[in-house]
């Protein structure tokens, strides 16, 4: 599959908030009520289209358990976007957001787009964190906020795509240096300077991007 850009995403947050379920919903459009514990990291990928361009999202779904914390720290490097997830039915996962944010800011590049996600919005009756609180936290720390449900798929698509759109806009504004892979953005094969030598596959349709 050819793509114009590749964005590296990471999903972070406490254990059991539904990180893996969000990814599964986004990549496979299905929901698993019982999910194995993530060991280290799992990967997912999906193509999306923004502004007529094919963008491959390479998603790193990290382990939330504390024992893996220092391992997952090495995954922050080179991520263009991060989904910081908490569980609206568990107050403590919301309280830990500051630590996660500090961790993310410290181990990633400063331009990383962070989206705050309050997951499990289908469990309204067990809600412990108000939507307004999430919004306030996001406003205070300059994040984008959304409530999602990996079970009903509400807002899941939007969360991933809006983040991508924001990254895309930043590229257009020239905030991201797309030639520096440390920013978590890779150009697709047909956009590389060595383009002329590569045999053109069926991907010629997406050529002519105004990225350079």
């Amino acid at each position: 599959m050819s793509y114009a850009y590749l964005f590296k995403y990471i999903i972070i947050g406490d254990t059991g908030v539904g990180k893996s379920c969000l990814l599964l919903q986004f990549t496979d459009k299905r929901f698993q009520p019982v999910h194995d514990l993530t060991i280290g990291v799992e990967f997912g990928a999906r193509m999306i289209t923004i502004d007529g361009k094919q963008i491959k999202l390479q998603i790193w779904d990290t382990a939330g358990q504390e024992a893996f914390r220092s391992i997952t720290r090495s995954y922050y490097r080179g991520a263009a976007g991060a989904l910081l997830v908490y569980d609206i039915t568990r107050r403590d996962t919301f309280n830990h957001l500051t630590t996660w944010l500090e961790d993310a800011r410290q181990h990633s590049n400063s331009n990383m787009v962070i989206m705050l996600i309050g997951n499990k919005s289908d469990l309204e009756s067990r809600r412990e964190v108000k939507k307004e609180e999430g919004e306030a936290f996001a406003r205070e720390h300059g994040l984008v906020f959304m409530e999602t449900s990996a079970k009903t798929a509400a807002n899941v698509e939007e969360a991933f795509i809006n983040t991508a759109r924001e990254i895309y806009e930043k590229i257009q504004e020239g905030v991201f240096d797309i030639n520096n892979e440390a920013n978590g953005i890779k150009l697709g094969p047909q956009h590389l300077p060595s383009n002329a030598n590569t045999p053109s596959g069926g991907a010629s349709a997406s050529q002519g991007g105004a990225c350079c």
Binding site: D28, I39, E42, G44, A45, M47, A67, S70, S74
Partner: protein, 295 residues
Amino acid sequence: MATHGYSGNSFDRWVEQSSIHGTASDNTMNKMQHQFWVAKQTILRRLGKKEDDCVVASDAELDAKLELFLSIQETCSQLYKVVEQYQERLQVLAQEENTFGHFLRTNGELDKTCAGKMMNAVGKAMIYSAQQRVSLRSPLTRLYQEVETFCQRAVEDTSYTVNEMEKCRNDYRGALLWMKNVSQELDPDTFKQLEKFRRVQSHVRASKSKFDRHKLACLQKIDLLAAARCNMFSHGLIVYQDNMATFWKRTSSAMTTVSEAYKGYQPYEFTFVKGLTYPSLKLAAEKSSSPEPKL
């Protein structure tokens, strides 16, 4: 539109399958690599190098429980020694008391004065007290035996479980070190790297589930040990407490009888230390002239 890298559930299943049915050389290689990181972890630990804070913090509950176990282990062996010394000394004290009582009685019978009678009475009380004191020994011996069994069986058994758990913990932490190492330059779109990561991941998963099992066993066993200890004390100490109360009640009543019988000042005719004769008589006169209620 959707496309997958080397990921997803079906891939994971395939990886696990292939790692189970992998070729022998592949498995040996993996095992060796795992052992390398386990050895590294062991050395780091032995040298007292600072371990990963997050990993240590994630075991906080377990470590707190281990503290409890160490305290039980230590205090039990101390108690074992203390009870042994205590009952030995109790025995010695009772013997001394008995000897003292006999000494007073023999000398009291030789002395025909009032002092002789007093010595005789006190001597009898002492012998009685010594006999009563010995009755404290049997519950103590019982406690001593129970603490001994507890130390040798329950604590030993738990200590074995703890050691097993520590081995698994070391294995798990070694696997985590390995995973951290392969995570440094991980790129999911490079098949070789991802494959390697998957192999490490399956090791971490296996050692984690093993460690989790042992951890649970440890937590439960230590809780049980603490409960068993309380149980042992509440049974063993009740008899001791009762015997102690009876001992004090009986001896104190015996001593009170003696003290009541010889209330006030008893004059004594000094035959050797003549200098004391006059003050003694004077004191006796003062005592008898003062209004004192007689029983």
